[in-house]
Assembly symmetry: C2
Homo-oligomer: 241 residues x 2
């Protein structure tokens, strides 16, 4: 075929993006029937097989509903985006709320991992970790309290040029984060964290304990983030198994 494609990602992903574009731009409204697979494939210039791969994923995500012998429909209730299952850095999260992210450093330095750290990050006793404690701000207000641990060996170029986003730091080190195992816990009080975030009396914090992995399933970051819930809302779309 010798086609020249500017984007090297698989074709079906480009189709997915295009469909999401069309649906979120209001081109197609919720509940309407999409053109037939044959028609869509022709329109996008891909084969029906490729188009179907895209639709299969979209169906799995809940954006479209397919009915045998009838057609493919845009879901009635557009899936709530940015649920907790989507992994954003704290920086990104603050920006998505249209606020300006900032950082107040409390502690940064190398140290030896505890046994629990070693266990979860898969380290030997001698390997050191970069450990930091920070308060993240939105428009100057303290909103998240962060404790992060990164194996020193992961950071080939040290941590110079570090500007607040660990995600970018790890990307620059060639170990971009792909996913995270996250535990969700409510916190009624904490001697250090609550005063630092200036939490009003009676309010609780939401703690996300996260173990982050790179694309090769290697753990690269262990973090505990305490969120003020008057600023951040957490939701998720739960489905019957």
């Amino acid at each position: 075929m010798n086609h020249i494609r500017p984007d090297t990602r698989p074709l079906y992903m480009l189709v997915i993006d295009r469909i999401k574009e069309l649906s979120s731009s209001g081109e197609w409204s919720p509940g309407t029937r999409l053109p037939s697979e044959f028609e869509l494939a022709k329109q996008f210039g891909v084969s029906r097989a490729t188009l179907r791969e895209a639709l299969r994923v979209l169906e799995e995500e809940g954006l479209v509903v397919r009915r045998h012998g009838v057609g493919t429909f845009l879901a009635e209730r557009s899936v709530v985006r940015a649920g907790i299952e989507q992994l954003f850095s704290v920086t990104e999260w603050i920006e998505r709320a249209n606020r300006v992210p900032g950082t107040v450093e409390k502690q940064v330095g190398e140290m030896l991992p505890t046994e629990q750290d070693r266990d979860r990050l898969g380290l030997s006793e001698r390997e050191s970790i970069l450990c930091m404690t920070r308060i993240r701000t939105a428009d100057g207000d303290p909103v998240v309290y962060c404790e992060d641990r990164i194996p020193t060996r992961v950071l080939r170029h040290g941590w110079r040029g570090f500007d607040g986003s660990l995600f970018e730091l790890l990307e620059a080190a060639g170990r971009p984060i792909a996913y995270a195992q996250t535990e969700i816990k409510p916190v009624a009080y904490h001697d250090t964290v609550f005063p630092a975030l200036d939490v009003p009396a009676g309010e609780a914090l939401l703690l996300l304990e996260q173990l982050h992995f790179d694309a090769n399933d290697q753990p690269v970051l262990l973090s505990s983030n305490y969120f003020r819930t008057d600023t951040f809302h957490f939701h998720v779309l739960r489905r019957r198994p």
Copy 2:
């Protein structure tokens, strides 16, 4: 072809189930390479196109990793199951912890919805709702505080024969729950709930505010569940968008 299939679900779903079986039964261990698509298709007696639909979904779920020109591999870290994105009833949840579910009824009755209820459930002013407040127990210990609201019109046969599981009640009414929009909130204290659950001092509860929908995207149940986190753990696999 004129094949007679006992299971009427789409073929690719059966393939998915079979693959999950093989991987969870230890037939295939994490990290190993699966047989080639051609080989697998032959083995399962389906076409490569169908097999690929199954693999596409499994890849999206994170159970397998596909590499162009190399092969398809079982994911190194098996995806954490029963994350918060899977919707279980409280009854099921307690059973999954190998404990015996029970119910202490506090209040059950029909009443008129508040404006917020009407808004979220899509009701008119005159329609009544079935409203109940209950404490769920595990082996007799109070572990979840539940407030539930169901539009009366949904329950065609009334609510006789109700045994504790709203999911089963709605299934019997022909409106089985398909998914729920869930908001996650930490709660530091609540005058009614905390004493009722006998929460130890200093411990917080996790509140899930859920709007449940049936398969036709119609809201059928609005619930607020307060969970004791010494009994329930909530986790989720978050992925980069």
